[in-house]
Structures are given as C-alpha cells and as structure tokens.
Amino acid sequence: MSTEKPLPVIDHDSTPYWEAARQGRLDIPLCGDCGKHHFYPRSVCPHCHSDNLDFDTVSGRGEVHTFTIARRPAGPAFADDVPYVVALIELEEGPRMMSRIQTGDPEKVHIGAKVEVTFVKANDEVTFPYFKLT
C-alpha cells in the first residue's frame, strides 16, 4: 500500500477552490439566486438548484460541529500523524466542511470550539485549509 498521502484529484468544479487555497483564501460557492453558500463546490446549487453560482471569499471562521481523534491512522500514509483530529467545521456562512484541527493537544478540541482557517502547503499545486483553535 502506498505511504504517500492522498492528494485531491482536482476537477472543473473544484479548481477555483483549490486555486484560492493555494493563494491563502477560502473561496466557496455562493448562489446568486437563493443567496446561500454551499460546500463542496458544485455546478448546481444543492439548496435551490440554480446554476447562477460564483465563488465568494468567506471569513475562514467557524466552530467545531463534531470531530474524532484518530488513534489508528487512515492507512499507513497517516501513521506518523497519530493521534490527529479530523473535524467537521461549521463555517460562519453556514456550510460544513471536513478538515484537520492543528493542535498539539487533541484533548483540547471540543464541540462548539471556535476555529479559524490556516493554510498548509502540501506541494506546489495543493494547499490544504486546516483549522486552529482561537
């Protein structure tokens, strides 16, 4: 089994999102008809099914909706990271996204904890939006 960490296979829906992350911005789709943000990026709004969508730079602030502390890695590629915190972040703008909480003390993470985005470069093409406790 590969020990390389998996990287996103970027597609037409997600190109602007990953490009913004590379530049240190959190850009997610905003619907021009219903006015709601969504995540992950799609070509049709999952709320009202409009295709009048544009990427919008959001605050990068939110809270921990739920999380798990991985005590066993998701495959050998993540073995050196254990224990690590995978969380669902509820952004101030509404949508939830999965990410990592960057912390030296996983026990400090709790539901409702305030977080903000921090960008972690994987390689020249991919930068991940991680979150840290505020």
Partner: protein, 390 residues
C-alpha cells in the same frame, strides 16, 4: 385485496464459516452460487426457475463486478428477465427485497433470487487506506478521515454532546449482542464480554473503541422470493413481506443533514410500518444493522422505538439481550456473528429463521412479526422490511 401475488420469502441460505473464513473451497462467485442453490432448493425450487436476480457487492471492482448481476447471472447459467444491482451499501439487500416485492406484485417476475458473497477476510482485501480522493471525496480523504469508522465516531460524538449519551450506553449494545452470539453455534465471536471489556478495548477513532466496531469476516447469503399463490405448491413455510421503505441522504459525511439523527431510517421505517399496518408494539423481533454500536442507537431512535436522544436509556440494563424486553440482533449481529462488508443480507436471513421458529436456543418465543433495518455507506442509506409469519 389479495390477488395471490403478495410477495413471500420461501428460501434462505448462508455459507458456513470457521474463524470468520469460508469453510468450503470456492471463489467469491462460487460461494454466491452455492448459497443461491441451497436457498432455491430449500424452497423446493431449482435455479432454472429463477427469473429475477438481485445482487450487490464489491468483488471484481474495477472489473467484471461493476456489472454485478450480469457477472453473477452468467456464472449461474440463467437469463433473468428482472434484474436489480442497486448498491446503497450494507442496506442494499433490504432495498432488494422491496424491489423484488414490487416486481412480483406487478407480474414482472415469478421467482426472485437475492444473493451476496464476500471473501474479504480470506483475501485480506479490506481496504483501510480510505476512499479514492476524487469528486466529493477529494474534500475528505486527504485529511486522513478513517473510513468508515470516522464518520460513525463523529455521529457518536455529536449524539453524546446533544443528549448526554455515554460510552457505557454504546457498550450495552455490544455486550447484549454478544450474549445472543453465545446462543448461536455459527457465530464467530462467542467468548464472554463485559461492558468493562468494551470500554478498555483499544480506542480506534474517539469515542469508538475496537469493540464498538463490527467484525471483518467472509460471508455469503441468499434469499428466494415468490408470490403467495406460487408458494402454495412449495414444500416450505413462507414468510410474508408486508412492508418496505428506503432512503438515502449523503456520501460525504460533511453532507449528512444531521449527525445525531438518522433521517433515512426515519423515512424508510415510517413508510414500511405504514404499508404493513403495524405499530411498534406489534413487532416481536428486531434485526438492526450494527456496523458500529452507534449505528444501532441512531436506528432505534429514528425508527421510533424510543424518542430521539433516549436511545442510551433504551438499551441500558441489557434490555436487548436474551431474556430482555426487546429482543434485537438475535444472531449475534455484525458485532459478534459475522460482517462480510455488507451485512444487511444476514439480518434478513435471521429474521426469516426466527419467524419460521427454527433457531433453537436463541428462538424468540412466539415471534410473528419482525422488523429488519439496514444501514449503508457512512450512515448514508437506510432500508426497512417488515416480515410476518404467513
């Protein structure tokens, strides 16, 4: 009004396991064929009578198994005129029962065969490296999300936060299920288990411990359905399919509408019970998908056996164990009997055997009505079937 085309289950079969592995030497399709043959013969039918074929599985993917019914139909040497390869995860077989029931009512087929087979344990093929990082999974897999346990852990964490559910509550389910397994000679894990054993087992993905998780085994099973009219001529005890429902919500866990409430189970359960004309108090035995202990708790609440948030109390004091008020997962479930990747097939087989009064020590006395509920994906899909002694 009855017209003779009411759907009934007339045969079931499963493959013997030893230490979670197939005993018989055969390929994954070979095991599918052997249980299919056993189930049709139990019904007093022949494989050549089968004109409806339903299956789901991960074998040969990418490859021939992407066209699962086609590959299996060829192997069996039959030409079905009704097929369904619906794959919504472990609940697929409950959905197959629903789809076969509709095809039988409609006269679209006469004898429907539902089959599952997996040799994941023998092959050591269980992929714990995560899902390919494409499409929606490009936003989950790279973060090291443990699959599938991580999503269930996140749901458990949320349920604990909202309702005060505890790890002890979840452990009650694992312990009660083990007690049923101890009454089932075919179950894989039959050694005694205590709540402390569950709580002191290795933490995998907080708050879920190793013993909150199902087994990883081989397994093959088959179900044969036909109409009430056709069943009259067969030397078998038919079990009626009285109601069914199915629904799904998400694949990426970030898209689950509510991490502490299992909406597909609610939708599917309500529909199935309404169709069957039964209420919760009519149900004598319950078989609920137990990929993880939290799966059961969420399902019990969503199916309406208790209020949302009260699942912890509901399962406390070993209420679901042998001799308890609420007989559940009577084979020993996915937690202790077997779990070959997609467990829903085996929930159905156990329910049918309970209603035919043939499971010996673990028999629920006087069982006439059973509710079976499968869950698939990462709490993604749900499908319910109500079965009744005919």
């Amino acid at each position: 009004m009855k017209n003779g085309r009411e759907p009934v289950v007339v045969g079931v079969a499963d493959a013997p396991l030893e230490d979670g592995k197939f005993v018989t030497k055969a390929s994954v399709l070979g095991h599918a064929a052997l249980v299919a043959k056993a189930a049709v013969e139990e019904a007093g039918l022949k494989l050549s009578d089968v004109d409806g074929l339903l299956t789901a599985g991960m074998w040969g993917v990418p490859g021939p198994g992407q066209l699962a019914t086609v590959t299996l139909g060829e192997y069996l040497g039959i030409m079905p005129i009704f097929v369904d390869g619906t794959n919504i995860g472990g609940s697929a077989f409950e959905a197959h029962v629903a789809h076969a029931a509709m095809a039988l009512r409609e006269g679209y087929c006469e004898v429907a065969l539902i089959v599952y087979s997996s040799d994941q344990k023998s092959l050591r093929s269980r992929n714990l490296g995560g899902r390919p990082s494409v499409l929606s999974m490009q936003h989950e897999t790279p973060f090291g999300m443990p699959t599938p346990v991580g999503g269930y852990a996140m749901a458990a964490q949320r349920h604990m936060h909202e309702f005060g559910t505890t790890s002890e509550n979840l452990a009650e389910i694992a312990v009660a299920t083990r007690k049923w397994a101890q009454l089932n000679p075919e179950a894989t894990r039959r050694d005694p288990l205590s709540i402390d054993d569950v709580l002191s087992s290795t933490m995998i993905s907080e708050p879920l411990h190793l013993l909150d998780c199902c087994l990883v085994t081989d397994g093959a099973g088959a179900i044969v359905m036909t109409t009430a009219e056709r069943a009259k001529d067969l030397n078998t005890r038919p079990v009626a399919v009285k109601g069914y429902g199915e629904a799904h919500t998400h694949w990426a866990i970030s898209e689950m509408p509510d991490l502490a409430r299992l909406l597909p189970a609610q939708k599917a359960g309500e529909r199935a019970m309404k169709m069957a004309g039964v209420s919760h108090t009519d149900i004598d035995v319950v078989e609920i998908y137990d990929s993880f202990t939290i799966t059961v708790l969420l399902s019990l609440e969503a199916l309406g056996f208790c209020k949302i948030g009260e699942g912890g109390d509901f399962v406390s004091g070993q209420r679901t164990a042998p001799g308890g008020a609420f007989p559940m997962n009577t084979s020993g479930g996915g937690l202790s009997a077997l779990h070959p990747g997609m467990f829903g097939m085996f929930l159905l087989i156990e329910a049918v055997r309970q209603l035919r009064d043939e499971v010996g020590e673990r028999q629920v006395k006087g069982a006439e009505t059973a509710l079976v509920h499968g869950t698939g994906g990462t709490l993604s899909s749900g499908a319910t079937v109500i079965l009744q002694k005919d």
